[in-house]
Each structure stands twice: as structure tokens, then as C-alpha cells.
Symmetry: none
Subunit: 131 residues, 2 copies
DNA sequence: CTTGCTCCTGTAGTGACTACAGGTTGTAGC
DNA sequence: GCTACAACCTGTAGTCACTACAGGAGCAAG
């Protein structure tokens, strides 16, 4: 599989794949005789993981940590647990934040009677200092 | 009021205020004889609006639209509602994914505590998701 | 009159991409 | 074999929303 196939299979831009390699979240792949990158199924899964983690708002450093967690050998279960716990705390924090965002956005949308701007709850909500 | 006061009153970085001016979300202010920017209460409110919108995840283009709408009280607020709804959809999508990640991380931590060598399924947890 | 703060402009750095220039390789049709 | 063209390569620059810093000017207090 070369980079274009990986791109189609994982739904990730070719340029982004090369960027992830430079950023160290994708392993440096083998090359064909002509210099082209060769990938396998594992790379498709890894890319899928990276995209989901990114969509959830984790930065690439956290992605590196999560990937390392995935690759922890049996021996370092304590380490793995500690890393997982830290990520869990972060996820909980992010969940709480998103839930309050949702509450506010949802209130804005529900209360908007789709009338004139003068009575618009969306605009009004933004003019009110955040709770 | 000069830029430092506005910064303190609105809780926004001085550099960010100048950036917002360049970006066209804050109006170009009057200047004192010495070239310093002069602001009024309206700017404090506008900055509050911008920060609140940014905190809710709206990008500056959406902020520009919302600000433009705010200045036309007789216009329809359909646009504002649409922008807010799009943002709400995005937040709900992320919430769903984060909840499945939380479940997986939590399972790993619990299994580690039990002394079981947890088989990490973070990648699977994130690959078997919607969107 | 020096110290120190705030202000000014302009440029560069950040993270995570995205796009493009300019060159090489592989393949398909003639 | 020749030509066209897609897919690949490297390297650099642009995007967004800031943030930081260099280098200089203005002003107030000690």
C-alpha cells in the first residue's frame, strides 16, 4: 500500500500523512526501491485513531501519549494505568466543559424564535457574561 | 480609556486586542495626539461578546457575522440561529465520541487496578465510532 | 535625568495542518 | 519508443487565532 491508498483507506489527506510522519505520530515507513513510502493495515488503524483523537480535541502530544499507552508491554502496567488515569482526568474535564457549552448553545437555539435580531436569544446570550 | 485599561476591563490580552483590530472584529479606534488608541465602554462590551463567542467555539468569521447581525436589530435572526445550531451539532458529536473514549480509558484503569494486564483497546474504542 | 511603565509598529513563532512549486517515477495509449 | 498524465517525492510558504519579541517613543515619579 502506498501513500495514496493509505490516504483513501483512512480518509486522511496525503499531505497530512507526511506531516504526521514528521511530527512523529506515524512511524517512518519502509520505502520501495523508487523511494515511495510503503504502508500496511496497522497504519490505517493508527491513522484512524489519530484522527478520532484529534477530533476529540487532543493535541498531537496527547496522541503520542495515547499511542504509547497502546504499545505498553505487560511489564509496565502501573505506568500504563497512570497514563490512562491522566488521560481519563483530561477527558472528564473536557466532557464537563463540552456539556456546559452544549447547555448554553442549546438554550440559545431553543429560545430563538427566528424573529428579528432585536429579540434574538442567540445574540442576547452572547452579550451576557458567561455563567 | 487606552488599550491597557480595555485589556484589564475586558480580560483580553493587549496583543489580542490589536490582533482583533487587524482581523476586523474590533473597529479601528480613534487615536490620542501621541498616537495611542482610545476606547470606550462600547468596546468593552464588544470585546466581551467576542470572547464569549470564541469560548463557545465560534471562529472569527462567525463572530464577524454575529456582530454584523447584532448591528441590524430589524434583520431576521435566522443566520444567527443557523450558526449556533451548527456549533451545537459539532459539540454534540464531540460529546458522543468523548463518552466512548471515557468508557474505554476507565475500563483500562479499573483492570490495571485489579492486577490484570489490560489489553488496551483505545484504538478500537475510537475506530468503532460514528460520524 | 534616569528609571520604568505603557504604548507603538512590525515581524516571527506556535500547532496542526494545507497548498503549491518543481522535480522524478510509473503506467497507459498510440 | 514517445507522449501524456497521474501519483509520488522534497521543501517551502500560507492559514487561523493567537502570542511573543525587537526596537523605539511617550510620559510620570523619584
Amino acid at each position: 500500500m502506498q501513500i495514496g491508498d493509505l490516504s483513501r483507506n483512512a480518509g486522511v489527506n496525503v499531505e497530512t500523512i507526511r506531516y504526521y510522519e514528521r511530527a512523529g505520530v506515524l512511524p517512518v515507513p519502509a520505502r520501495q526501491g523508487n523511494g515511495r513510502r510503503v504502508y500496511g493495515e496497522a497504519d490505517v488503524r493508527r491513522l484512524g485513531f489519530i484522527r478520532h483523537a484529534r477530533d476529540l480535541g487532543f493535541d498531537l502530544q496527547s496522541v503520542r501519549t495515547l499511542l504509547a499507552l497502546q504499545e505498553q508491554p505487560e511489564a509496565s502496567c502501573t505506568d500504563a494505568s497512570r497514563i490512562a488515569q491522566a488521560q481519563l482526568d483530561e477527558v472528564e474535564r473536557r466532557l464537563a466543559q463540552l456539556q456546559s457549552l452544549r447547555a448554553e448553545l442549546s438554550r440559545m437555539v431553543v429560545e430563538c424564535r427566528k424573529g428579528v435580531v432585536a429579540e434574538c436569544r442567540v445574540i442576547e446570550a452572547l452579550n451576557t457574561s458567561p455563567s
